[in-house]
Symmetry: C2
Subunit: 439 residues, 2 copies
């Protein structure tokens, strides 16, 4: 199991009272990093750390004398509108700053008075992407998702022969990744109506979400080098939530033979905070294969993977339709799932991605693929929940959904908690579908 | 047809004598942009323009008073180790600088003496990528390539039903794009031997090249906006050569259902010079469909496309094996082809890419897909030339090749010429396969 240290101590409390609420996403054991500024102020984006319902402005805290030694050097790398410089410093620097943050934010800290002025309420903040994302790769790590999507296309042979051997992934579009809060117009695309001879250009009728984790690479590798499975952990900076918005009808028509393209590239949204791999250490669990599944090839195998290659992260997806919003109804949950069901570990993704010598760079983003669980109601997309629209969902207010309608918001949440350690959350990723621009 | 102007005048000569050689890639009618520094000097990379066998250092020329007005503002944007800032200025700026360059490099220029000190011989220079590439998209625009590759997999149904409607493309890996001259180790990957039950990790046995053009985007679009076909030209900065190195055996095993991934991401190489769209104007030709092919959907159709949507660019691919190099033999040509055969125009790629609202950014790169011509000997890859290795080539020195061997260099060349206008070249893109690193 990864080492735990004093920053994981479940007994720690913060002088910021909201961080001590047990339902809070950001207790002192979490300390995720993001990039923010105060709303409505024409000021630069900068790095902050979420604590309770506040954000600690790292540069302001640095100026207030919060850090020294390696932590101060790490905080200096955060004096930027992105985390890339900090990411490339590596795990020792990440850990040093986390430890210092844990010290200065603890109830016992003597710096509380001085640091009070470095806090910005989260409700007063807006976010930018936490890092400049050079390349974005989307994996396909849930065998339950791959099987149920495969079943829709190939009922007799849902899972392709490579699935149990290859951590399948593909390159995604980086430029259209946005932070939570995005509202986007329903995309146009070529659609082939059933029985039609020719496609037409029209707004997608099958807009879907996909529940994924985002994985931010910290340190990279040189072109031609490999990241061995024993070293993979040290390259992962942290995780966020990711919604891989998808246009299923565009996808069906375009994706052969080279994979999804415009069906995905119109928008991808991520939650604003990156929860570090160190913060997730108490929630690491054994990574297992089902009986009869082949063992991973040696380059993807390592004792740490088997002991602690998976992470127990609980997910839920909610929908808020325009009617719910207008009538003041709470968003309705569509499904729950857990990252423990993933067939491939995050660390296997890192190693596989580089086995051919492909270079990763600080700030590169992986999507894990849709994280559907084994039960039908644990599906991470409407495609699965409605069996490609054939079994529409009826919502509590009587509305039905096969796919997303204009005005629908999708909210994804993720959190960890177990008997020995408190809840830490990934925060929310929210996005809304607007009507197509037709002209 | 695109407008021609005085920079295209075939009668123009330069005071740099090598630019007046008719076999030269870089006469005064070309004026391509790149990023270079003097070899062995620990100096910054900077923007230059190729002229004959020389490079004009743009910042040095600016300091020497070569430019004024809009051209000076454009040249100021070139005071950087990449072309991105210049690219985002748009066609008027690109044109103004080109016109000024044409003036100061002409035989009649009064600045020849002053600018002489701003030249660096190409043989003394090394190159960086001409731009920071945010996203890289690879298209599949040769119907001849799509058909012959499809035939290897589906003899009865080589071309998929979407091909004639959709400019098929997929996201590629940006981080592993390098400028001409790269030597890379044969990649490892999962390979499934014929009849085997399980894959093994081993060096690829089927390394191939793919002859493509690279298309650099100049100005981008906002997320949610479309670039209409009537506006597409104004977003294209220029073209280079691109070798989309491919590991066919890795590709066969990994590519279903999400497309090529590690089979491509180990290396992509481009030629150092970007030939601007304006320089290519005299070589634009009508874009045609074969009888019986459907007309493009309206969003991909426009009179300019039909009149001048294609570009007459001649290609050749050569191999230099280790044995040729050691025995002083010249590289041997493997095939010739021409971009006029492309099924999709560069401008249709731009419009299609953004029809869903996906945003392009200055410096984004498109690959055109392998540019195979209609004849078998015009194929742009060994996969096609050797029928997937089943019909190995015999080289003039007696060596045979199914796919590339360690030590093989591949050289791609491209140029334009017609009765009314002189030859302008894209330069070469060269790369070499080194043995795998096995440990």
């Amino acid at each position: 199991m990864p080492d735990l240290n004093e920053t994981h101590d479940p007994a720690l409390k913060s002088w910021i009272a909201s961080a001590n609420d047990r339902a809070c996403d950001f207790p002192i054991q979490n300390l995720p990093f993001g990039v923010f500024r105060r709303k409505g102020q024409n000021e630069p984006f900068r790095v902050g750390v979420a604590i309770g319902d506040q954000i600690l402005d790292l540069s302001a805290a640095q100026s207030a004398g919060a850090f020294s030694g390696p932590a101060a050097r790490a905080a200096a790398a955060c004096a930027a509108p992105s985390l890339n410089a900090f990411m490339m410093m590596g795990p020792a620097a990440w850990s040093a700053l986390r430890l210092s943050l844990s010290h200065v934010l603890r109830q016992s800290s003597t710096l509380a008075d001085r640091l009070h002025g470095c806090l910005v309420p989260q409700s007063h903040a807006e976010h930018a992407l936490p890092a400049h994302i050079g390349d974005y790769t989307d994996f396909y790590a849930s065998i339950h998702h791959a099987t149920s999507v495969g079943k829709l296309m190939r009922p007799d042979n849902p899972l392709l022969p490579n699935y149990k051997w290859v951590p399948i992934g593909y390159h995604g579009r980086g430029s259209s990744i946005r932070v939570s809060g995005l509202q986007f117009h329903r995309p146009l695309g070529q659609l082939l109506a059933p029985g039609a001879q020719a496609p037409t250009l029209a707004p997608s009728k099958r807009i879907d979400y996909e529940l994924e984790l985002g994985v931010f690479i910290g340190t990279g590798n040189e072109l031609g080098e490999r990241i061995r499975i024993a070293d993979a952990e040290a390259h992962v900076f942290g995780l966020c939530l990711l919604n891989d918005w998808s246009a299923r009808d565009i996808q069906t028509w375009e994706y052969q033979p080279l994979g999804p393209f415009l069906a995905k590239s119109f928008a991808t949204t991520i939650s604003p905070w990156i929860v570090t791999l160190e913060a997730l250490a108490p929630y690491r669990i054994a990574w297992r294969r089902a009986d009869g599944d082949p063992p991973p090839l040696p380059y993807l195998d390592w004792p740490m993977i088997r002991h602690a290659g998976a992470i127990d992260i609980e997910f839920e997806v909610l929908i808020e339709t325009a009617r719910m919003r207008e009538s003041g109804q709470a968003p309705q949950r569509l499904s729950r799932s857990n990252f423990r069901h993933a067939y491939w570990s995050v660390f296997q993704m890192v190693t596989h991605h580089t086995v051919n010598g492909c270079n990763l760079e600080p700030g590169d983003l992986f999507g894990t693929g849709t994280q559907s669980g084994p039960a039908a109601e644990e599906a991470g997309s409407l495609l699965e929940l409605t069996v490609a629209g054939k079994q529409p969902l009826t919502l509590a207010n009587g509305e039905t959904r096969s796919f997303l309608e204009d005005g629908d918001s999708v909210i994804m949440r993720g959190w960890c908690a177990n008997d020995d350690h408190p809840r830490i959350g990934l925060g929310d990723v929210v996005g809304r579908v607007l009507p197509a621009i037709r002209e």
